[in-house]
């Protein structure tokens, strides 16, 4: 507070009062301003607050520094340090009957006059007031006054000659004998008491920082530095101190006092004030001369500054509380992050530093953000369904229901996926038919039933159809099962029937019977589709029969009878009324299959656009239809066109056409782009077995992403299942063993010979030395026959199955063996702490650390489990279960 620049101080106990001091002291009361109207005499500090001047004290001229009495006092007792080194207690209250009445007006006078630079009340003993003075050649610069001490007239007048201060003796309020005198022949520029002990005082002296210990005043700890201004202790971290010199702030750790632990970026202008925020840890505010911003340094994320050589991270930012230059600022003692600032012309402003917002998004859709001391959880209002529709939620639920893992009946996976997405249904049926065909095919191969279309099925109908081009074309006129079917041409070839097979219409290559398929559709209640398929197989009677059945069944639509009626009136006369009516009215039918049926019946031979481009008819049915009724050229064109459409749209039904080829990956890529469903993509492409589809980097990318996603959800078991599933289908993905247990004696991997034993499980065989309970004892190194280390808990050599531990009777043993068979395998695994290298059976260790924090080995105080960052995590599946 040099010259006329005002300083500002909050009252330590009256949260609504502050003092502005320049040549006089002005006490203000702060109010919240509800209305926009200003009361007479009040000043607006912010949108919410105004200040009213309560009183002015101009009793103390030549003020250099002010400190507020830390004890609760209604009178606002202040200590004022003057230019001549005197410290005066003064008050801003009106009540003259207060307890501190005796103190008001008391003066503390140093032996030799010089400027008082700083004042600091002891936070523990509020009678102690430390004053820091300029240098005098023979006097002390740090004086600690006891404000309760009685003036001592005997020393003041009797022995010494009082010439110059004769006027001061009047009231007897002058104290000349300090409690402690420190720092001889030195200047003190700043002071603060250390909260660690009542008798520790940190002083910024001329060119050094010194810690004075009043218990032994001849001792002091000091460090030479220029940064001696404005020493201040972090209220939340009592060993951390800030001080400054010109534009640079130094942060000190009192436990490692030799040099600053860090220095903040130097400012071009000299600093005038540095203050820790009292309501928030590690937040330091700094102000430079002629500046309208306050610079904040957030040391929140600083690890303990001692020890590590790494530079701690600091987040620096600036706030601008007002337009004008700031003369001084003061943090509010209790209100969070709040401060008042004062400008050189004494305008004030009330300002709250807005806390940085940190945001965290969990892998399972919940969003949290923190601001100051508040933690907010965000939920989307209203539309809970949008969350359910989110692919991440779906994938999570599907992962839990083991989606993709049904390898027996592959089509069932769409049921595991929730049976709600027709594309998934189509996909899994396609995959099912492909795999079914492969199984059949290999069986046929075994029986030498020839046919070399095996690998072709993977490549999709598009390639199959192409391969049939020109070579194996059989045409024939249909005689039809119905009465009047005359001129409809059907096409047939080996490839076409393979395609029909993949579409699910027929079961086996040469057998064109669609009856099993119709039955299964009837069972599902899919009457319209069944009728359409029957019709497309030129069996109108069967179609009508199906529709009748549908109408009479419980859930069926009665209108089906009407449709059956219309169907039965079929005539192949070109100009009949029936034909005319059907072709116009069919468009009003809601069901695409019914619509397609009439389109088929009313269409000219060879032009079936009404069926082929009825987009709501399943792709497989349209393709099957095309395979039956289009000639090679038409078929190829149609398939080509449809494939491109599917690829563009990312429609999974198109996998039927593309198969698990590059084309399929392209299609899947646009599907993933559209939906983000890496789960389906991963599982689907894994079926692409030995082909190069799996080597496609996009596929690997989806697979890795899905694995990461499972990890992020803490679905570790699911991920393991996925990995197992993956390594079955893609042996190249099987990870190489990365960890070996090696023998202490010969240094060879102890699993080296075990890996030769076929029943050892994949992947983890190197851990479980005795994976099989039947092979009960492998307790020595297979290489050198020396014993393996002992488990720290059961003291049995490693490799011994847990279930055969002594202690339980033999009969129990067998029960345990069957019951915990699966668990026991893991219980037998080796486990050890990477830090202290103690360990034992995994099961023993787990149960030990359930109740203990320290290593089971006596005299080892390693906190092994706490060092294991993942050891304490719980898989999400078990939490949900």
């Amino acid at each position: 507070m040099s010259g006329s620049k005002p300083d500002i101080l909050w009252a330590p106990h009256h949260v609504d009062r502050f003092v502005v001091c320049d040549s006089e002291l002005s006490l203000y009361h702060i109010d919240s301003a509800v209305s926009s109207e200003l009361k007479a005499g009040s000043l607006r500090l912010s949108e919410e607050t105004t200040a009213t001047l309560l009183s002015i004290n101009s009793d103390t001229p030549y003020m250099k520094c002010v400190a507020w009495y830390p004890k609760y006092d209604p009178e606002c007792l202040l200590a004022v340090g003057q230019a001549n080194g005197r410290v005066v207690l003064t008050s801003l209250g009106q009540d003259h009957n207060s307890k501190s009445k005796d103190l008001i007006g008391k003066e503390f006078v140093p032996k030799h006059a010089r400027q008082c630079n700083t004042l600091a009340w002891n936070p523990l003993d509020s009678n102690w007031l430390a004053a820091g003075l300029d240098k005098h050649r023979a006097d002390f610069s740090v004086l600690i006054w006891d404000i309760s001490s009685k003036y001592a007239p005997e020393t003041a007048v009797a022995t010494e000659k009082v010439r110059l201060s004769a006027g001061d003796a009047e009231a007897g309020l002058v104290v000349t004998k300090p409690l402690y005198e420190l720092g001889q022949n030195d200047a003190c520029l700043s002071l603060c008491w250390l909260p660690r002990d009542q008798k520790l005082l940190l002083a910024g002296m001329h060119r050094n920082l010194a810690i004075f210990d009043l218990r032994n005043t001849s001792q002091k700890i000091f460090v030479n530095t220029k940064a001696v201004q404005g020493v201040t202790v972090d209220p939340y971290f009592h060993d951390r101190v800030a001080s400054f010199y010109e534009g640079q702030v130094a942060i000190w750790d009192l436990r490692k006092f030799e040099k600053p632990v860090l220095t903040l970026t130097e400012q071009p202008k000299p600093l005038t004030k540095v203050a820790w925020c009292p309501t928030r840890t590690g937040l330091l505010a700094t102000l430079t001369r002629d500046s309208n911003i306050i610079r904040l340094y957030d040391m929140q994320h600083t690890p303990t500054p001692i020890g590590d050589e790494t530079e701690p991270t600091i987040i620096e930012r600036s706030v601008q509380p007002c337009e004008n230059y700031i003369a001084s600022f003061a943090w509010h003692p209790t209100s969070q992050n709040r401060m008042v600032v004062v400008t050189p012309n004494r305008t004030m402003s009330d300002f709250t530093v807005f806390e940085r917002i940190s945001l965290a998004w969990s892998p399972v859709t919940s969003l949290m953000w923190a601001c100051g001391r508040h933690l907010y959880e965000c939920t989307e209002e209203g539309k809970a369904s949008s969350l359910e529709k989110d692919i991440a939620t779906k994938m999570r639920l599907r992962a839990l229901s083991r989606y993709g893992l049904d390898t027996e009946q592959v089509w069932r996976n769409h049921l595991l996926a929730g049976n709600e997405d027709p594309q998934l249904k189509s996909l899994w049926y396609t995959l099912h038919y492909i795999l079914y065909f492969i199984v059949q095919y290999t069986e046929d191969m075994d029986q030498k039933l020839t046919g070399n279309k095996g690998p072709l099925v993977y490549t999709g109908i598009k390639s199959i159809v192409k391969s049939s081009l020109g070579t194996t074309e059989n045409l024939r006129h249909s005689r039809s099962g119905s009465d009047r079917q005359a001129d409809i041409i059907q096409y047939l070839s080996e490839e076409r029937s393979l395609a029909l097979q993949l579409c699910g219409w027929i079961k086996k290559g040469t057998d064109l019977d669609v009856e099993p398929f119709l039955n299964s559709l009837e069972q599902e209640g899919d009457w319209e589709r069944a009728a359409a398929v029957a019709l497309f197989n030129l069996d109108i009677r069967r179609a009508i029969q199906i529709l009748n059945k549908g109408a009479s069944s419980g859930k069926g639509d009665l209108n089906l009878n009407v449709v059956a009626m219309a169907l039965s009136g079929y005539t192949d006369e070109k100009n009949s009324l029936w034909r005319e009516m059907c072709s116009t009215l069919r468009l009003q039918l809601n069901n695409p299959y019914l619509c397609a049926m009439f389109a088929f019946l009313t269409s000219e031979s060879g032009s079936y656009d009404g069926v082929l481009y009825e987009n709501n008819v399943a792709v497989r049915d349209r393709v099957a239809f095309a395979c039956k009724f289009l000639n090679d050229a038409q078929l190829n064109r149609f398939i080509e066109k449809l494939t491109n459409e599917m690829k563009e749209a990312g429609n999974l039904e198109g996998i039927l056409l593309t198969g698990l080829t590059k084309d399929g990956v392209d299609l899947m890529e646009s599907y993933v782009d559209r939906t983000g469903d890496v789960q389906t993509a991963s599982y689907c492409m894994l079926q692409g077995s030995p082909s190069d589809v799996l080597k496609d980097e996009r596929v690997q990318y989806w697979i890795e992403n899905y694995r990461n996603l499972l990890d992020a959800w803490r679905f570790w078991h699911k991920r393991a299942e996925f990995d197992i599933h993956r390594s079955k289908l893609d042996p190249s993905s099987k990870p190489l063993a990365q960890v070996f247990v090696s023998c202490n004696f010969c240094g060879k991997s102890i699993s080296y010979s075990c890996s030769a034993i076929p029943h050892q499980g994949r992947g983890f065989s190197q851990y479980g030395v005795s994976g099989s309970p039947t092979k009960s004892k492998v307790t020595s190194c297979p290489g050198c026959r020396k014993p393996l280390p002992r488990c720290a808990l059961c003291l049995i050599n490693m490799g011994t199955p847990v279930s055969s531990c002594p202690g339980g009777s033999k009969s129990d043993e067998k029960v345990d063996l069957s019951k915990d068979k699966k668990l026991a395998q893991f219980n037998n695994w080796f486990t050890w702490c990477h830090n202290c290298r103690h360990g034992g059976h995994a099961g023993h260790m787990l149960s030990w650390f359930r109740d203990h924090t320290e290593c089971p080995v006596s005299a080892c105080s390693c906190k092994c489990m706490q060092l294991d960052t993942t050891g304490n995590l719980v898989p999400a599946e078990t939490v949900q279960a």
Partner: protein, 300 residues
């Protein structure tokens, strides 16, 4: 204890009655600040200021202040090594000026008892050892009788300071006191023969102001402006030297300060271009003069 070094050079205005009537005074400042002029005579050396700072734990007793305090530790050893020193006491501290060319000897002499630091751009750094070891003889413990004539003026002095912020308010007064008052006083009060000396010292070192003036001058300043001690102590002066002392003779400060230190009498010591001045508490003046005269008598 630590010793700070900063380079200063010692200059003095040539006695020029026309420009500066009567009073001689020493100025310490940076050489570059003053233009060279025929009126300015400069002692032919760069002087470095030593300042004893109590870094390491300090002094328990506060009574023997000023030169007395460092008489044994600094001044006597330097005198023993025949190093010429120049003393400047201020309100805040004491400076010992030594010639730059003597620095290696100074450092070697003082290294035993002090940590010597060099001030570079306001930052204190450890000074390099100059590595001069040859040419040192173990000094003989010799008596140092006072060689130069002494005089003790009758007026009493105070050593004081003031807040630099208030300097503008007394600027004209200071100028008056320094440059224009003495001629008038000369005719009214008389001269040195009456035992009255005109002595006014103003120094501004590192932002700190130090003033030494007699009581009459002090009364011309406004009340409460000057920093004074609570006890209001006053000082009397012992002036050393009949002829200008020059810059080469060594041991002068030691001759005065050692008897004072022996008697535990606090003192200020101000060397000027021509003479040296010691200030001692008024109640001690008789004892001091006697002691010094005894010492002086030993010479003969």
């Amino acid at each position: 204890m630590e010793l700070n070094l900063s380079a200063l050079c010692l200059k003095a205005m040539r006695d020029n009655p026309a420009a500066l009537p009567g009073e001689r005074f020493g100025m310490s400042g940076c050489r570059k600040e003053l233009p060279s002029s025929e009126h300015l005579s400069v002692a032919d050396a760069t002087w470095l200021a030593l300042n004893v700072v109590s870094g390491g734990g300090g002094f328990s007793s506060s009574q023997p202040i000023g030169v007395t305090k460092i008489a044994k530790s600094v001044i006597a050893p330097l005198a023993d090594q025949n190093i010429s020193v120049f003393m400047l006491s201020t309100y805040q501290t004491d400076f010992i000026l030594v010639r730059e060319r003597d620095l290696p000897f100074v450092m070697h002499t003082l290294a035993a008892e002090f940590t010597i630091l060099r001030v570079v751009n306001g930052e204190t750094v450890a000074a390099d050892d100059f590595g001069v070891t040859n040419g040192f003889v173990k000094p003989k413990l010799v008596q140092r009788p006072v060689i130069h004539p002494l005089s003790s003026p009758s007026n009493m002095f105070c050593v004081t300071s003031l807040d630099p912020d208030t300097l503008p308010t007394v600027a004209t007064l200071l100028m008056d006191v320094m440059f224009y008052s003495n001629g008038v006083k000369d005719s009214v009060v008389g001269n040195e023969d009456s035992g009255h000396i005109r002595f006014f010292s103003f120094s501004l070192i590192e932002g700190y102001i130090s003033l030494v003036m007699d009581v009459q001058t002090q009364q011309r300043f406004p009340n409460n402006l000057l920093f004074t001690s609570a006890s209001g102590e006053l000082w009397k002066m012992v002036r050393i030297g009949g002829q200008p002392l020059g810059f080469d003779e060594c041991g002068i400060v030691a001759q005065i300060s050692e008897p004072l230190a022996a008697a535990d009498i606090p003192a200020y010591y101000i060397s000027t271009f021509k003479f040296d001045h010691a200030l001692v508490p008024e109640e001690n003046i008789n004892g001091v003069v006697n002691a010094l005269q005894v010492s002086q008598a030993e010479k003969h």
